[in-house]
């Protein structure tokens, strides 16, 4: 018998049917396989680059960015996106966003230097965050970056720096306010309602070495309604108007940060995120409508800056993982151990990711718990997910992992794997090499007293 005529081996499975429940047999919609990413075979990529494997899609990034830009640009004359580095700061990912005309939004000296290393000029970098060192601030001032001041200590430090450098800095303040999102993110920036924001603005207006160019807020992340954005845009527009009235000063931009919800479903959500969370059009409508209502003429409108993170990159990332073991738990429930755990999938703490087999599954599926390879109880990728019978080595594709997973991942008991990007021309490029033991040890130093000769034997 030739191999080709053999039936494909699927682990033998028997499932009890419960009347009154949805019969899983034949219900394959949730199990449609994912054999490729942008036409490139996942099995082939794993053959070449190993498992687990992160895969980014260049095309998906570009499409998401272009779509978002179009949606805002058709509603508002001046729109600028700034790529939120913390969401995914792999060089290849940032470079893709920059080539789509995005600026860089950074929150640390490390991120700032990374952006500069990619050739982003200072005047296209927005420097946010509460922790900018003296050195960071000096570099940013010298390079004409946009400094978003987070607190008074930073403001005073910046005043000293600009005065001693004899330079003018372009500044905005980060404002926090009540827009109906709770808990309030009031630890970042200056509060609007208690007058702190106005105090900060007054101090800036009184400082010749600081040029007030914008107002910034970031109201939170995965905001499930457009309304808070309407409120935020309104309140910042009013603040801008007060500056105009009090000082005759016109700001250049209003930066509304990030925070749009994505298509990943939260653990607590009953229905899939798609259909529950607002579309980008709805956010855009709320924001641009509020901004326009406050302008007397179109030429008066400040530029709108957006630091959208997860909603732009999440769907461009995939994590390919293989089955290490099949197990029955003590109560008879099925469980699978896979080679990617919460070390690589930090977002599984809040998302129920879409997970699909890579090969065409059979007609049967069974609920299984999905565990990662770490020796820790918290390493659960999913408490229960319906999956076909899988053999050792079979691949699963975890979808929508392009945001935060590749920045918040942990090097814990094992090494971080290869990351590749499927390019628009159909080629696959390695964009971050898998870590090696040498890479980790290169950072370590063994005190002489503990050297091999003294410890062993």
């Amino acid at each position: 018998m030739s191999l080709g005529s053999r039936k494909r081996y699927e682990r033998p499975t028997i499932l009890k049917q419960y009347s009154g429940y949805m019969n899983k047999v034949g219900n394959r919609s949730g199990l449609a396989p994912t054999p490729d990413i942008d036409g490139v075979s996942i099995e082939k990529m794993v053959e070449q680059f190993g498992s687990p494997l992160f895969v980014m899609s260049e095309q998906a990034i570009r499409m998401a960015q272009r779509r978002a830009y179009r949606v805002f640009k058709t509603r508002y004359p001046r729109v600028q996106f700034a790529w939120s580095y913390k969401t995914n700061y792999l060089d290849a990912v940032c470079a893709t966003f920059h080539s789509e005309d995005s600026w860089a939004e950074v929150v640390s000296g490390f991120e700032y230097n990374k952006a500069r290393g990619l050739g982003v000029p200072g005047n296209r970098i927005i420097f946010n965050g509460p922790d900018k060192s003296e050195e960071d601030l000096k570099r940013a001032v010298n390079e004409d970056a946009y400094l978003h001041v987070d607190h008074f200590d930073e403001l005073y430090r910046l005043i000293s720096i600009t005065e001693s450098l004899g330079k003018t800095a372009k500044v905005a303040i980060r404002v926090n306010m009540d827009c109906g999102v709770y808990p309030l993110w009031d630890r970042f920036g200056f509060n609007l309602e208690n007058g702190e924001a106005w105090q900060a603005l007054k101090r800036i207006m009184a400082t010749p070495s600081l040029k007030l160019v914008g107002l910034h807020t970031h109201i939170g992340t995965y905001i499930m309604s457009p309304d808070p954005y309407r409120v935020a845009a309104t309140k910042l527009s009013e603040l801008a108007r007060s500056l105009q009235t009090e000082y005759g000063h016109k700001i250049e931009y209003i930066d509304l940060g990030g925070g749009f919800a994505s298509k990943n479903t939260l653990h607590g959500q009953y229905l899939p995120a798609e259909g529950v969370v607002p579309t980008i059009e709805e956010y855009a409508e709320a924001i641009t409508d509020a901004l326009m209502q406050h302008a007397t003429s179109p030429s008066e409108l400040p530029m709108l800056i957006l630091e959208t993170g997860r909603a732009l990159v999440e769907e461009a990332g995939f994590l390919i993982t293989s089955v290490i073991a099949n197990k029955r738990l003590a109560d008879g429930r099925k469980s699978l151990i896979i080679d990617a755990g919460v070390n690589l999938l930090f977002t599984s703490f809040w998302y129920r990711h879409k997970i699909t087999p890579v090969r065409d599954p059979g007609m049967v599926s069974e609920d299984a718990a999905l565990y990662g390879p770490l020796c820790m109880n918290i390493d659960m990728v999913r408490e229960s997910i319906s999956l076909p019978p899988l053999n050792l080595g079979d691949l699963l594709c975890i979808h929508h992992v392009g945001a935060y997973d590749m920045t918040q991942w942990m090097q814990f008991i094992t090494l971080r794997p290869n990351v590749v990007m499927v390019m628009q021309d159909g080629t696959v490029e390695l964009i971050r090499k898998a870590e090696t033991l040498e890479y980790i040890r290169e950072r370590e130093q063994l005190p002489r007293q503990l050297s091999k000769n003294n410890v062993v034997g």
């Binding site: 053999r6 081996y9 699927e10 033998p12 499975t13 028997i14 009890k16 029955r328 007609m363 049967v364």
Partner: protein, 87 residues
């Protein structure tokens, strides 16, 4: 190896549907599972069943053995099979 016997009323249709008139329970069995049940019902031993799986599906014997073990324990869990220790 253990000798496996199935409950007398176990009967699987072509499509993998299995109904137990005595208890009113129904089950779904995939193709590999049907192959195993068929082999056991026709009196094959566990090692013969393994050989059939290897020939039919081209799976390696280790994997087949491991999966057969779990499948039989699922049958037992549902009270569809008994095994006798054949030392």
């Amino acid at each position: 190896m253990d000798k496996i016997t199935l409950s007398h009323d176990v009967a699987v249709s072509e499509s993998g549907f299995m109904f137990l008139p005595t208890t009113g329970e129904s089950f779904t069995v995939n193709a590999t599972g049907r192959c195993i049940i068929g082999a056991i019902q026709s009196g094959r031993s566990e090692s013969e069943t393994l050989k059939i799986l290897v020939a039919e599906f081209g799976v390696d014997e280790r994997t087949a053995e491991r999966d057969l073990r779990e499948f039989v324990s699922q049958l037992q869990r549902y009270h569809l099979a008994q095994t006798q220790d054949n030392k």
